[in-house]
């Protein structure tokens, strides 16, 4: 349909280069919330350029299937994106990763059969790249499915560990490379599907043993894999746009994984080996020796309104209780009474990097009172009240002092340094990592029992009444 347009291969390369530049500008826009929307628009322009250029590519002989695919994808994608609840963002991201992975498998398979059917001889390098593309895609696909199921709580988020697991994974890995080699030598379909099937199994096995506490790392890691899958596809098609873009996404995910690991003081290797979080870790916690103090809502409201500086530490529990809007009202009330309020965000608060920031932004809390750990930790010693809402492990001082704690060495928010710490908690249950929190037994700490949303609403009500 576009056959009247003639563009040379160099012309296409130039257009693809332009798309790459837009992608880079798009990511660069995310350096500040002020430029971020423009960045996203740049990335959209890049994608549009890439799609339109490919549609007029001479290798594209018919477009029926293409329009059908684009249409189906657009309807599903837009519908889901408009409906999704911000709390469920990690699940959405995991699901989307799985699609990129599966798409990479189909592209590898499709390219292989297309070349077979048109009788094009396939070189060893191409076959090798097809094999790699398919297995990275397949691992991304099933790995992301498991991550999705764990985040959506379709399966237990506890790590699933069994004996000989790592040996089995290693053997499967070796077998996968063996079949890749056979595929390269024979150029037949059978070893291609065997290696893909093994990779699908490996994806499951690699993510199953990883516990709930490590989920932010897994989500970032799969983000990275989806990029590498795109880059591998680029090698197959000898398309620099895919290689560049895949590398950008791959390094993005890798850096996020690194940041998450650093924030939990875990090595990427130990995350991959799995077994952390859930019941397994609970055994390592020190048994509580002293009782905890509890405070009524009235006491808490009194402390808050008489403070001059309050820092709120939100965690995933805030999202579960849907307490963001109640917190916003609380902040308004405190501000009206002349109390300065800031938010402190731990890098691994929530189930994915930056999750808390999104939830706070959703309830109209301005981003310039929300601070990252490094920027706010020095503030706690001059803070009157630290209000912990649905966070647990990220304020556990055991991470600094108790060598026996599984959290030892993890950087934490120094909430315990505030004059008074108030922790809103539903019960005395341990955190996501399954570890008891030493902070609750500190002299300057009081627990306010109840649902986070209800407590915050009651705090506001009490203050407005008084």
């Amino acid at each position: 349909m576009f056959s009247q347009i003639q563009i040379s291969p160099d012309g296409f390369a130039a257009i693809y280069l332009a798309a790459t530049v837009f992608f880079i500008l798009g990511l660069k826009g995310l350096s500040s919330p002020k430029t971020a929307l423009k960045g996203n628009r740049n990335a959209m322009i890049g994608m549009t350029i890439a799609i339109v250029a490919t549609l007029i590519h001479p290798e594209v002989r018919e477009t029926t299937w293409i329009w059908a695919g684009l249409g189906v994808g657009a309807v599903i994608g837009i519908a889901v994106a408009l409906k999704i609840d911000m709390k469920s963002m990690p699940q959405l991201v995991a699901a989307l990763h799985s699609f990129v992975g599966l798409a990479a498998v189909f592209i590898a398979a499709g390219t292989f059969y297309a070349d077979l059917s048109s009788g094009k001889p396939l070189g060893g390098a191409t076959l090798f790249e097809l094999g790699i593309g398919s297995f990275i895609g397949a691992i991304t696909f099933t790995g992301s499915l498991v991550a999705f199921a764990k985040l959506q709580e379709l399966v237990s988020s506890n790590p699933l560990v069994f004996r000989g697991q790592h040996l089995l994974n290693a053997l499967l890995g070796i077998a996968m490379f063996g079949f890749t080699a056979q595929f390269v030598m024979s150029g037949e379909a059978a070893p291609f599907w065997v290696l893909t099937a093994i990779a699908l199994g490996l994806g499951f096995l690699l993510v199953l043993p990883i516990g709930g506490a490590d989920m932010p790392v897994v989500v970032s890691m799969l983000n990275s894999y989806s990029g590498w899958a795109a880059a591998a596809t680029g090698f197959t098609l000898e398309n620099p746009l895919l290689i560049t873009t895949g590398a950008l996404v791959g390094s993005s995910g890798a850096i996020l994984s690194y940041i998450m690991c650093r924030a939990m003081n875990r090595s990427i290797i130990s995350v991959i080996l799995g077994g952390f979080g859930g019941e397994a870790a609970a055994a390592g916690a020190s048994a509580p020796t002293k009782g905890v103090k509890s405070a009524s809502v009235e006491d808490a409201a009194f402390m808050l309104e008489n403070a001059s500086k309050v820092v709120i530490v939100p965690g995933y529990g805030m999202a579960v209780a849907q307490a963001q809007h109640a917190i916003k009202e609380l902040v308004h009330t405190l501000n009206a009474k002349g109390v300065e309020v800031k938010f402190a965000i731990h890098p691994v608060a929530g189930r994915m990097p930056g999750h808390m920031n999104v939830l706070l932004a959703e309830s109209d809390i301005p981003y310039d009172i929300v601070f990252e750990m490094e920027d706010i930790n020095s503030d706690f010693s001059s803070t009157d009240v630290a209000l912990v809402v649905g966070a647990n492990d990220v304020v556990n001082p055991d991470a600094k002092t108790n060598k026996a704690s599984p959290l030892y060495g993890m950087p934490i928010l120094d909430a315990y340094k505030a004059k008074q710490v108030l922790v809103i908690k539903r019960s005395m249950k341990a955190g996501y990592a399954g570890v008891d929190n030493a902070l609750f037994y500190y002299d300057n700490c009081s627990l306010v029992f109840g649902d986070a949303k209800a407590v915050c609403e009651n705090l506001t009500k009490t203050m407005l009444a008084g």
Binding site: L37, T54, I78, A81, V100, A230, E238, P353, A361
Partner: protein
């Protein structure tokens, strides 16, 4: 230089660009970063389109078209879903009133 070697060169240099650009992203925007990289990684749609647009009439071209269609559809879910959700998230980030 062979196409593979050119590819590797481009790949390695792109990783360095990625490294520098991504460290510049503010941690507050790490969730939209993942959403937008999700959309961007769906650039595999280029490969998917080439597969789905394969010439018909050959033996086995029906199978190729099915693979192509599925790949285009999956990648498009990412593209549209990823960009729209990123837009939704970013639109929520507002500074304190009178601070812009």
């Amino acid at each position: 230089m062979s196409p593979t070697m050119i590819g590797i060169t481009v790949f390695v240099l792109s990783c360095f660009i990625g490294y520098h650009v991504i460290w510049g992203v503010t941690p507050a925007l790490h969730t939209p970063l993942m959403a937008v990289t999700n959309a961007i990684s769906a650039i595999v749609v280029v490969g998917a389109i080439l597969v789905a647009g394969h010439e018909s009439g050959h033996e086995g071209s029906r199978l190729v078209h099915i693979f192509g269609f599925l790949a285009v559809a999956l990648a498009s879910i990412n593209i549209f879903g990823g960009f729209v959700v990123t837009n939704r998230i970013l639109a929520m980030f507002k500074p304190k009133k009178g601070n812009n």
